[in-house]
Symmetry: C2
Subunit: 398 residues, 2 copies
């Protein structure tokens, strides 16, 4: 009998995907589903960027440089300068989505058995990349009652062992929408320097901050050799299908090592690079419109949620996610029930159970994540469904 690898067996399935068959059944019955379950924005990809791809006129679709086209890396230097990050083209490796930046970072800095600390709840796919790299995730818990603020420094220090090699943050955060403030970033800076750790900083949602200024980990003083930025254009320009991201660091040894992984896979996708390069030339005020739209959606969503008896949703400072605790027995069961046994005038809502974002077993069972990637009319429709559902759900606790 041929065997699957232990690693393959340990690899987690997507926690969101397990609800897909129930959603498909609901759709087959004619039920409309409000998809607040995934971070696929409905915002239009900038037409100028799409036009750059559509107007391209080369005859041979060649490999690019393994680090990405030089012209694109030079443009990215301009982009990063515009967000207060000073880097050179040699400090950037263009990756296939932010996913590959995470993988290259893990592979370059971490060995099997090493530990990384991540404030939970966290982006569930970090689990997958940790399994690929043989790395062990040590969560420290952030709490909904504190709006998911960074846990105190003592929690980090309790979690640090001789095997700890890195801390991972996502700022602003997926799934909580929390935006780390300057003081919290300085706490992280102290920890990584004192304990000699890498700081992997996932800043996919940098542009979408509503109640404060984003401070990039790349701006932390004295941390230049510690910080590895894992970036992506997927959310920034609503270009998830381009599969273009970047690993950025001032640590030469890390960039040289990551380049070897980049060479092994030859090059990132060419069309996506053309799109990303054109996006840097968008007008300076480009983000104002999508940001205003997300802000409106956030305010609509958060208000509607907190108006429902027994529901609590802290106001997220960034990204396009919110976490809410619900008066229910179990989020997984509730989300499945919404698809399987509920509708309001032929419509229901699909949410992401929060349990998949926690590493500690048993946490987040009464929480759900909502991605406000639909317009306010749709969000209101979704909230009508949720409100009605919570009145009749058999496992309600109020």
């Amino acid at each position: 009998m041929l065997k699957i690898s232990t690693r393959g067996q340990q690899m987690p399935a997507s926690p969101i995907r397990k609800l897909v068959p129930f959603a498909e059944n609901a759709k087959a019955k004619g039920t409309k589903i409000y998809h607040l379950n995934i971070g696929q924005p409905d915002i239009e990809t900038p037409p100028q960027s799409l036009a750059a791809v559509r107007n391209s006129n080369f005859k041979v679709l060649e490999y690019s440089h393994s680090a990405g086209n030089e012209s694109y890396r030079k443009k990215l230097v301009e982009y990063y300068r515009s967000v207060n990050i000073e880097v050179t083209p040699q400090e950037i490796i263009v990756t296939t989505g932010g996913s590959e930046a995470i993988l290259f970072g893990f592979m370059s800095c971490l060995d099997p058995g090493d530990e990384v600390i991540i404030p939970e709840p966290f982006y569930a796919n970090y689990n997958g990349f940790a399994v690929e790299a043989g790395v062990s995730i040590k969560p420290i818990t952030s709490h909904i009652k504190n709006g998911f603020a960074l846990p105190p420094i003592e929690e980090f220090e309790k979690a640090i062992t001789s095997k700890t090699k890195a801390i991972i943050i996502c700022n602003p955060n997926n799934p909580t929408g929390y935006l780390y403030n300057e003081k919290e970033m300085e706490v992280l800076n102290q920890i990584i320097q004192k304990h000699n750790l890498y700081l992997f900083s996932d800043e996919a949602y940098r542009e979408f901050c509503y109640d404060g200024k984003h401070l990039s980990a790349m701006e932390l003083k004295g941390a230049e050799q510690h910080v590895i930025l894992m970036d992506t254009i997927s959310k920034r320009y609503s270009a998830c299908g381009a599969r273009i991201g970047a690993l950025v660091t001032k640590n030469k040894a890390v960039i040289n090592t990551a380049m070897k992984f980049a060479q092994a896979r030859l090059s990132p996708p060419e069309f996506g690079q053309i799109l990303g390069e054109a996006a840097v030339d968008l007008p300076a005020d480009y983000f104002e419109k999508p940001k205003a739209e997300y802000l409106l959606r956030r305010d609509t969503l958060v208000k509607r949620l907190n108006d429902i008896p027994g529901v609590f949703c802290p106001n997220p400072g960034g990204a396009f996610y919110a976490m809410a605790s619900l008066p229910i027995d179990d989020g997984d069961r509730f989300c499945q029930w919404l698809l399987e046994s509920f509708d309001l005038n032929g419509a229901t809502v699909m949410l992401a159970p929060a349990s998949g974002f926690y590493s500690t077993l048993g946490l987040g069972t009464k929480e759900v994540r909502l991605a406000y990637v639909l317009n306010t009319k749709e969000i209101n429709g979704a909230m009508d469904c949720l409100e009605a559902a919570l009145k009749v759900y058999p496992g309600r606790t109020m």
Copy 2:
């Protein structure tokens, strides 16, 4: 001091890349370089496929399904049927280049410490993916004097240990151009069934076979659960920059496991999938023209090589590579010298030293790989250079 991972240190640099600075210097001096060193074809990407991308009219560049667009996987079923491979859309995962198919295959089937057997010389990047997966490569040597035929069954059986989990072949072969015949494929079939091994089959060059019929590993009787096809459209349609490949297998446990790795990285690039899907609809005779062109180049290259005193180049049956042994002291030194210290009327040739394709230290030191990705005029120019160079190279052995 922050440390690079042991894995990162072990990761091999590209054996071809180390010559790049010398090539850049030569170019800066105004020397023309005939690039026979890399598998980047000059053949035009099918205009119909590029047009499909350029005429696309969606407004939001969304994630695709993690396994690739269903419409593309259905088209791929048609394509595979046309080359005698019967599969369903559920047996296909669209990957980001063939590279990712290799990575997913390794990750799904192999654990750190496991061994894989590969006939050497082999595609150098298998080394990189083996390091990523923590897997150990056990080479068995094929010889230029036999035209790089599959080593005898005894060689395989000597190399098999309790840790051996798989055999990897590339057919037709990169770097040798060797096309495995039916008898050799049947030998492999016996070995994998007898010893319960996976067979990873890299068939990137399937369409380019000149002196025989290609037999896919997917056609081997009784081996359905053993075979994992690692495929790519890069060479087939001269679309290296699309970054589209596929992992194909009838082994359900493997496909389900590979899907978890595919979900972690979300999706393959959308534009490349559009291009690949359109390519399946190319006229049935599409490959005749590029194949005839490659055949002409091969015949030109192989004749010119064998006409040079002391040079031996077995006739490769497929792909667009040839390996030649030269009357020289050392291939690495010679290839560097060609760029650094030689020109014929302002031109020189860039070749890939073969040492990087052998796993056994000391093998291939007098061999080079030549990619016939230039037209015959350029190939003749390159051969003029090589012929002249071998008369004056200080390390010549004739």
